[in-house]
């Protein structure tokens, strides 16, 4: 730990004169900070190591093999899985496009709507705030079994409420989950409905970090509500916006449960008519547990992982703003 003495050290703390006469203390200030940082990080890192990093490395290992689950012998095949996925597996390609479409189609509306709801719920003189907050969060806690049951009924082409309502305004509703063109849209609708409350909570917490005085001061200075929103709220809400979009994309790209419960039934395998709702993770699960083999799905998972990392890094770069307080 022999870091050279740096004049200035931590710009934030003015170093008091008596400290300068004890160079040893100054030497290790930065190191101490680093040590403390790692101390705070260590429980999480340790647990990650066991529950995530280790399985990830194993998955990487599987991806280079034929890995039948159980007693059958495992066989090293190098990049064969990857080659097949990238060049010749059209079902995988379709899963990728489905997933991309789904991610964009859900994250954008959900985050915007959630932000809107959070802003309204945060506004002055709103009564029954707690009630509305709870109500908007209800879809998040309602069991997925019940939610999918109801939504499948809502989207039922012949009797469902959605098509019936569309019929009132003269629109011929599509086949939704039975129609390869519309099934994914049905899953999107259910997801947006369900996730608004989730992101609303994030934004509500984030809005708490914006001191009321700032907005009041801006209002006094003559700023319109829209200007206040753009210049005060949005920038200060940046951490929450970053959180919501990055998390939204990460989760969106790993779409599985909604498809599974909305398109699967005892008489129909999930993945929607003609693979129109098969997402990458559903593809992975089916590639794993139908043939009881882990190599191929692990390779697909690695490809997904790399893609998510890239997208996330790009998002962080574009969206993150640092502010001085």
């Amino acid at each position: 730990m022999s870091s050279p003495v740096r004049s200035g050290g931590d710009a934030l703390t003015g170093t008091a004169p008596h400290r300068q006469s004890r160079p040893r203390r100054r030497l290790t200030m930065r190191t101490r900070r680093t040590l403390w940082a790692y101390a705070f990080l260590s429980p999480a890192l340790l647990l990650f190591g066991v529950t995530v990093i280790y399985p990830m490395l194993r998955s990487l290992q599987y991806s280079f093999h034929r890995w039948p689950l159980g007693r059958a012998p495992k066989e090293f095949i190098g990049l064969a899985n990857y080659r097949e996925l990238i060049t010749s597996d059209s079902a995988f390609h379709r899963a990728v496009t489905n997933t991309l479409f789904f991610t964009v189609a859900t994250v954008l509306p959900t985050v915007l709507l959630a932000l809107g709801v959070a802003l309204v719920l945060n506004s002055r003189n709103l009564r029954a705030r707690g009630f509305f907050r709870t109500v908007y969060f209800v879809p998040v806690v309602t069991s997925l079994v019940a939610v999918s049951y109801v939504w499948r009924w809502l989207l039922e082409p012949s009797f469902g409420l959605v098509n019936t309502a569309l019929g009132w305004i003269g629109v011929d509703g599509p086949g939704w989950l039975s129609d390869p063109q519309w099934a994914l849209e049905g899953v999107v609708a259910m997801t947006v409905w369900r996730d608004i409350g989730y992101y609303m909570v994030i934004f509500l917490a984030g809005l708490q970090t914006i001191p009321k005085e700032l907005n009041e001061a801006a209002a006094l200075d003559g700023a319109s509500p829209w200007q206040r929103f753009r210049r005060v709220t949005v920038p200060l809400l940046n951490p929450s916006i970053v959180l919501a979009s990055v998390i939204g994309v990460i989760y969106g790209l790993q779409l599985f449960t909604q498809v599974y419960v909305m398109t699967g039934s005892p008489s129909k395998l999930p993945g929607g008519p003609l693979g129109s709702t098969t997402s990458v993770v559903l593809f992975i699960v089916q590639s794993a547990f139908r043939p009881l083999e882990m190599g191929y799905p692990s390779a697909a998972a690695m490809l997904l992982f790399v893609f998510i990392i890239i997208v996330t890094m790009v998002q962080l770069k574009l969206l993150q703003r640092k502010f001085d307080y």
Binding site: A146, Y149, P211
Partner: protein, 274 residues
């Protein structure tokens, strides 16, 4: 001006209420269905109100299945999980937000990266590991994967960034130890985020199904989702019982949320930060 303000004020309520109805409708349907018989639920066209309010479904769920036991298990597992996630996330989030140390950015990406491998992929190696460690069919094995959550770390990091560093440095200058700063200054200021995280973690843990399915064999360790799954068969699914059980399952979550969402407004005292 006032009329516009009042109109937009009223408009808020209209929009909010319309949205609220949409949000709540499935829940309402579910509760109504929990009072119906199975043929009634399956009837086409579907009915909204039950013919008669019968509590048989609830009686069956509570009487013929060890529902209370499942509930207890879920509470136990969720409590441990929430506590652990709050603990690890707040500490790690604080480190990422307020400390500048070598390797910070890379480490943060690594942490985020742990969110990018779907659990279904990690599950096989994790299961084999749990088996080798003798953790199958134990509470320790049940909670293991949920003890730490990169989302929690991310959330806390984002939130804690807004704590002015001067505040912390002032305390350091005053001679406070890092631990004291964390506990006495950082944590109290982090209440809204911690409450949000607690609720998210609770919901995720409450509904967690895949891992408990794999790890648990004895019925006395079943969590609620496992218990609920018993109602689905290949040819016959007891939707009536599922609805009653789901209604019972949601209650604690709703109560917890009602309880904790007040924390969101308690945020920073107006006099506080600046």
């Amino acid at each position: 001006m006032t009329i516009v303000a009042r109109a937009s004020g009223r408009l808020r309520y209209v929009l909010l209420t319309a949205g609220a109805v949409i949000m709540v409708a499935p829940l309402v349907w579910m509760v109504l269905a929990s009072f119906k018989t199975l043929p009634e639920i399956l009837r086409v066209p579907p009915t909204l109100l039950p013919g008669t309010i019968r509590l048989e479904n609830y009686a069956t769920v509570l009487g013929d299945t060890p529902f209370v036991r499942y509930f207890f298990n879920s509470v136990l597992v969720s409590t441990i999980t929430v506590a652990s996630v709050l603990f690890t996330s707040s500490m790690a989030g604080y480190a990422f937000a307020k400390f500048d140390f070598p390797g910070r950015n890379i480490l943060f990406v690594v942490v985020l990266a742990t969110l990018m491998i779907p659990f279904q992929v990690r599950v096989i190696p994790l299961y084999v590991l749990a088996n080798d460690l003798g953790l199958l069919d134990s509470y320790a094995g049940l909670v293991l994967p949920g003890l730490v959550d990169a989302f929690g770390i991310f959330l806390m990091r984002q939130y804690l960034q807004s704590i002015p560093t001067e505040l912390l440095d002032a305390a350091r200058v005053d001679g406070a130890s890092e631990v004291k700063i964390f506990v006495k200054i950082v944590l109290p200021l982090a209440k809204p985020a911690l409450s949000a995280l607690a609720i998210f973690t609770l919901v995720a843990s409450w509904e967690s199904f895949l891992w408990p399915l794999l790890v648990v064999s004895s019925p006395d360790k079943f969590t609620l989702p496992l218990g609920l799954a018993q109602f689905s068969g290949r040819f016959l699914t007891r939707v009536d019982l599922q609805m009653a059980a789901s209604a019972l399952t949601i209650l604690p979550l709703l109560i917890a949320f009602l309880f904790m969402q007040r924390r969101f407004i308690e945020g920073m005292a107006t006099a506080g930060i600046k």
